[in-house]
Symmetry: C2
Subunit: 210 residues, 2 copies
């Protein structure tokens, strides 16, 4: 491409490869992504890639991590449901077909590559920008007395992403707006009220038999 004989090295080359991988991912998806194609797109060769990453999954994960979107502020519509709908919709918009195929593909390979499993699991389990947003939204709802004070377990903080990914991967992206609404209205809002109610009574921990 360049025409010159300039030879990139180190971080510059690495970035070029990750960009190429990301482009290739968007162009053909994970299943059809080949190391050779990424090398060609980056204007380099296979050994250069294999020297840096263990295979497709690791390369794609690295490319993904360098392309994580910047999180906007948590929405503030004035109501719990409104905020949650906006948040869920935002997440759903990102869970497009390419993303889902990538996650499924990497997951499939993770079963025999512990380090891949670790990277993926950590990313899926700790979407910190999301958990912050949920905390902010719920905090405001509590401040408005729309919801009793409630302590949110980590699993509940992660749940929006899990729900959307699950729905989007089993039913296909993109999610209909009413599907998102159903996740909010049928699951997440009731869950928050239930948590608050049970914690309010103070009957959960004590009621545990054994």
């Amino acid at each position: 491409m360049t025409g010159t004989k300039s030879r990139r090295r180190g971080a510059q080359l690495e970035q070029a490869i990750l960009d190429a991988a990301w482009d290739e991912l968007r162009a053909v998806g994970y299943a059809r992504l080949t190391i050779e194609a990424v090398a060609a797109r980056a204007g380099t060769s296979k050994p250069v890639i294999y020297r840096r990453w263990g295979g497709r999954a690791e390369l794609v994960l690295a490319a993904w991590f360098r392309n994580l979107p910047v999180e906007p502020e948590a929405p503030d519509t004035g109501t719990l449901r409104g905020d949650l709908r906006t948040l869920f919709s935002r997440i759903a918009r990102r869970a497009d077909s390419m993303m889902n195929e990538m996650v499924a593909g990497v997951m499939g390979e993770a079963f025999r590559h512990p380090e891949v499993a670790a990277l993926l699991g950590e990313r899926l389990a700790n979407p910190s920008p999301l958990t912050d947003a949920v905390r902010a939204i719920v905090g405001r709802a509590v401040a408005r007395a729309e919801l009793p004070p409630v302590d949110l377990p980590h699993r509940v903080l992660r749940l929006p992403l899990d729900l959307i990914r699950n729905e989007s991967m089993t039913c296909g992206a993109p999610l209909a707006e009413e599907t998102v609404a159903s996740l909010v209205d049928d699951v997440y809002v009731p869950l928050l009220h239930g948590l608050a109610g049970l914690q309010d009574v103070g009957a959960v921990k004590e009621a545990r038999p054994a």
Copy 2:
């Protein structure tokens, strides 16, 4: 194996292939499963398989569907939490590593094979024995006045399986007993209470602004 030159046909042969596929799946997992290996294990040849199924994913799905376990009766421990824990544990025990890898693998291929996506989606979305069990458990809890009467949306009926699959695929199988407990105590029980509470007030549908 047979030594004779007997040549199987039709349903008998099909069953032999599906058995072989299932065995191969348990032996090497989905990622390493090859059509050639299945053919060899079944004592037949590749074209015979390709004449019947479109590829790995379809073959494996067919094998899976023929090996669905028989559902036991819904547990009846006398408490909602007890029943749910038993039910969740049962499901979790089935969501072993092989199962997860298979689902991930088939999912990955589903993105370019609509019919595979349809088969898989339908199976994941409609675990009718499970939804029956949930209905029975919740029905008994309502009868015991442990829970107000509550109408369960389809998404909530599916949720146990979705939660467990999600957890098991992202954190790795098998699930710890305490993880299962957390799914019941932090998510599902609160959700049921929240649903019942909101429906009791009768304020959900009417409160929707637009």
